[in-house]
């Protein structure tokens, strides 16, 4: 009798285990998030990318059963954070936010980067920051045409401040000055902030930075925006002409922010993440948060991101060679 009972019990436990096991296999695909999802932000807390992540994480619980947890892993122009994300398990519980320069500029400038574009699968584009040129309020140039005319007529060399070699404000400025035939010299600053400050102090002629970085100073009356270095006008400066208005069809510098997962993550999970994050960025609460920070939402599919990155990678390589930064 006792033996029978024991065997019965064992059988029951065995069946339960079996069931749990098979159940688990199914779960992995269908009920994917069963624990919090890590979102690695390769830039410092408090910066614009970090704020974007935090806004995303704040709205996400409406559409995800599990929370999104933002983790800052800074250093090496995003190399540290991206390297970590690449090494993470491809189970959908580690995602990373990136912008285009780490994939299209840094590979030319830095050897031994711990990641490459092939290590990741793109999920969704979230936002775009638009490169904009601004001058001191006391500058004689009221608009971009005056600047070009003055520089050409009087053979002036314009000094422009930007946040770093190979980053998009730098490349945008170089292409613009080349296209317009204005002589210009770039001054590198340690980020957007110091470059903007130098323009307010009148130490450089113009500054090229993102629209959301400049808009506060323009509102405060310290700077005036002259031109948007992209094909579309920006939300922050709707009255300022863009490259299309000026007839330069191939100058288009936007800093995209998008989400990636390590390569090997299953297609279902990638689709799940894409669909749900799309709902997040269409949510009014997210839109309101982004508007307050003057950041523009920019939706892209994974495929579109890959195409853009590949195209920009070639373009940036040619530019850096032409400018003499790489051989």
């Amino acid at each position: 009798m006792m033996k029978m009972r024991k065997i019965g019990l064992l059988l029951m436990i065995g069946m339960l285990c079996l069931q749990l096991f098979t159940f688990n296999i199914e779960v992995a695909a269908k009920n994917y998030p069963t624990k919090p999802i890590q979102l690695i932000c390769p830039w410092a807390a408090g910066g614009s990318t970090d704020l974007l992540c935090r806004t995303l994480a704040k709205v996400a619980p409406k559409y995800f059963p599990e929370p999104i947890v933002v983790i800052n892993r800074t250093g090496g122009a995003a190399a540290v954070g991206l390297g970590d994300a690449k090494r993470a398990k491809a189970d959908g519980y580690t995602i990373v936010i990136a912008s285009n320069p780490p994939f299209v500029s840094q590979p030319y400038l830095k050897k031994n980067l711990p990641y490459s574009l092939n290590d990741f699968t793109s999920i969704i584009g979230l936002s775009k920051e638009i490169c904009t040129m601004a001058v001191n309020t006391e500058s004689p140039w009221e608009n971009i045409d005056q600047l070009i005319e003055d520089a050409k007529k009087n053979n002036k060399t314009i000094t422009f401040g930007h946040s770093g070699v190979g980053l998009f404000p730098h490349l945008a400025a170089e292409s613009f000055f080349k296209a317009t035939g204005v002589q210009a010299r770039g001054v590198v600053f340690d980020g957007d902030g110091p470059a903007i400050t130098a323009a307010i102090g009148g130490h450089i002629d113009v500054v090229i930075a993102t629209a959301n970085g400049l808009v506060q100073q323009v509102k405060a009356g310290n700077l005036k925006a002259l031109v948007t270095l992209a094909q579309k006008r920006s939300m922050s400066f709707p009255d300022i002409p863009c490259m299309k208005d000026m007839g330069y069809d191939d100058i288009d510098f936007n800093i995209w922010k998008y989400l990636l997962v390590p390569k090997g993550t299953s297609d279902e999970i990638v689709k799940y993440l894409h669909d749900n994050f799309k709902k997040v960025i269409e949510d009014p609460e997210f839109i309101a948060g982004m508007n307050k920070m003057e950041m523009e939402i920019g939706y892209l599919t994974g495929k579109e991101i890959d195409n853009k990155l590949n195209k920009e990678y070639k373009l940036v390589g040619n530019m850096l060679k032409e400018l003499g930064f790489i051989k």
């Binding site: 910066g47 970090d50 935090r54 250093g75 540290v80 031994n112």
Partner: protein, 500 residues
């Protein structure tokens, strides 16, 4: 103006704002005390939580963390020779020596009172001159910044009274370590040995914890000497004596002025101002040789200076909307997520918010001194713990701190490396604080030089002909001539003394 301040006080004395202020100050103190956890990342991490507060409360809280950290930073410097913040490195020099003599309580109290004096008086400056002074900061372009940084290295390099040759050797080693990372002007990485973790350069915080904290622990391992005098200190003796309190006042006032002025300029003002104040105290002291052996002026001055700098760096933020320091950049983000633009228009259009923030800082400084003074006794009694028990705890705290800087094990490697370096320095009797000066100022000099040369199209002439940079160089020249002459005079005098 006083009407505005009065309204501000009325507004801040609501439950919500007071609570925000208290939380900010409390978190700030905590973050300051714990090595590795700095105010900047903490403010960044807490930014999203301020979504829940109204904009005024959010800024009150974030600012509280910022200046609150300057209060707590000195605690571990004094007790454990382990700077809680980069701004408290110099406090180790005399603060820890005081602790060794059983005057830890006095040093802690000096730091709290000095911080309070600087915080409160600095606010008066902020209140009256925010708009006027913020313009001063704009006069400093790359060339002027280059000049003032060179002057800074000249003045601060020879800080601890070692032989100048030894101090400047340390400054140069610091500059070399500062070269690791990305060359800002070309975007290329250099001296990284293929390590992605080094592309961003070495983090200051694990470096400081290694050079000071870990090096100390290693020295203890070698000597295994318990500190006998501390265990017998009576509780009452932990607090400062009247005579010591008197000696706090003047250095704090000087520190306030130095800190506030340096806070107006670009760069890591809090760190530099504490070094500058230490140097100043040593210069004006009647007994400069006593510095480094535990004098209270060497604690009160720098600790008030870093608070003065914190308030000073609020001037360009509130007056112009420009963040010069990393911490004020996060504060600016705080304004931004609530859709507010600081600057001259802000003071005019949002005057109630401006005055409420100012009033909250007055109250915050009182909260902080009330929070810190009673803790003096408690903290000081940490030293009663036997050294052989305390040391492993220090190592643990350092490990957590070094990991926490960037959530990475690499920070721990950096700390251990600099622990060994610091140990070697101790063996050959070299003081590592000039190394920190070189490490901070070296990369700044590099980028300012290269920016300036692009702006002047390669000419060095504007460096001398521009009024501000020209006069700064003149001061540097005069000071070095004076020092050399004094050294020659000293050398001539010494053999004579021996003869008679």
């Amino acid at each position: 103006m006083f009407e505005g301040l009065f309204e501000g006080f009325q507004n801040v004395l609501t439950l919500n704002n007071l609570f925000a202020c208290f939380i900010g100050c409390f978190v700030g103190t905590l973050v300051g005390v714990l090595p590795g956890l700095g105010p900047v990342p903490t403010m960044g991490l807490l930014l999203p939580f301020t979504f829940m507060l109204d904009p005024t409360g959010a800024i009150i809280m974030l600012a509280g963390i910022f200046y609150g950290a300057m209060y707590g930073g000195s605690t571990t410097s004094i007790l454990l020779n382990l700077p809680g913040e980069a701004a408290s490195v110099v406090t180790c020099l005399d603060g820890h020596e005081m602790a060794k003599k059983g005057r830890a309580g006095a040093a802690l109290a000096a730091s709290a009172i000095g911080s309070w004096i600087a915080g409160t008086l600095g606010l008066v400056g902020l209140m009256f001159f925010a708009v006027a002074l913020s313009k001063v900061a704009l006069l400093f372009g790359p060339i002027e910044c280059f000049a003032i940084t060179v002057l800074g290295i000249f003045l601060l390099g020879n800080l601890s009274g070692n032989k100048p040759s030894r101090s400047f050797l340390m400054v140069f080693i610091g500059i070399l370590f500062g070269c690791i990372g990305t060359d800002k002007t070309t975007g290329m990485s250099r001296f990284t040995f293929g390590s992605a973790d080094l592309i961003g350069g070495i983090d200051l915080v694990p470096m400081i914890m290694g050079l000071f904290g870990i090096a100390d622990v290693l020295m203890f391992l070698e000597n295994r000497k318990e500190n006998p005098s501390l265990a017998s200190v009576k509780f009452r003796d932990l607090y400062p004596k009247k005579e010591e309190l008197k000696r706090i006042i003047k250095p704090s006032l000087r520190g306030t002025v130095v800190g506030f002025l340096i806070g107006l300029l670009p760069g890591p003002a809090a760190v530099i101002s504490s070094f500058a104040s230490y140097k100043l105290e040593k210069k004006v002291s009647s007994n400069p040789d006593a510095f480094g052996t535990g004098v209270i002026e060497g604690v009160a001055g720098p600790e008030s200076a870093n608070n003065g700098a914190a308030v000073g760096s609020m001037v360009p933020l509130l007056g112009l909307g420009i963040p010069f320091a990393p911490a004020t950049a996060v504060l600016l983000s705080g304004f931004m997520i609530h859709g507010i633009t600081p600057g001259p228009l802000f003071i005019r259009d949002n005057s109630l918010m401006f005055w409420t923030i100012i009033a909250s800082m007055y109250i915050g400084n009182v909260i902080l001194v009330l929070l810190n003074l009673p803790l003096v006794g408690l903290f000081a009694s940490v030293l009663k713990i036997k050294t052989r028990i305390l040391m492993p705890i220090i190592v643990l705290v350092c490990l957590i701190g070094a990991y926490g800087v960037n959530n990475s094990v690499f920070g721990i490697f950096v700390m251990v490396f600099f622990g060994l370096v610091g140990y070697l320095f101790k063996k050959v009797n070299l003081d590592p604080s000039p190394l920190i000066v070189g490490f901070i100022l070296g990369p700044m000099i590099e980028i300012y030089t290269r920016q300036s040369l692009v702006l002047t199209n390669g000419s060095f002439l504007p460096f001398i002909t521009k009024p501000i940079s020209g006069s700064l160089f003149l001061i540097a020249l005069l000071l070095s001539v004076l020092t050399i002459m004094r050294n020659i005079a000293k050398k001539r005098n010494t053999p004579c003394d021996k003869k008679y």
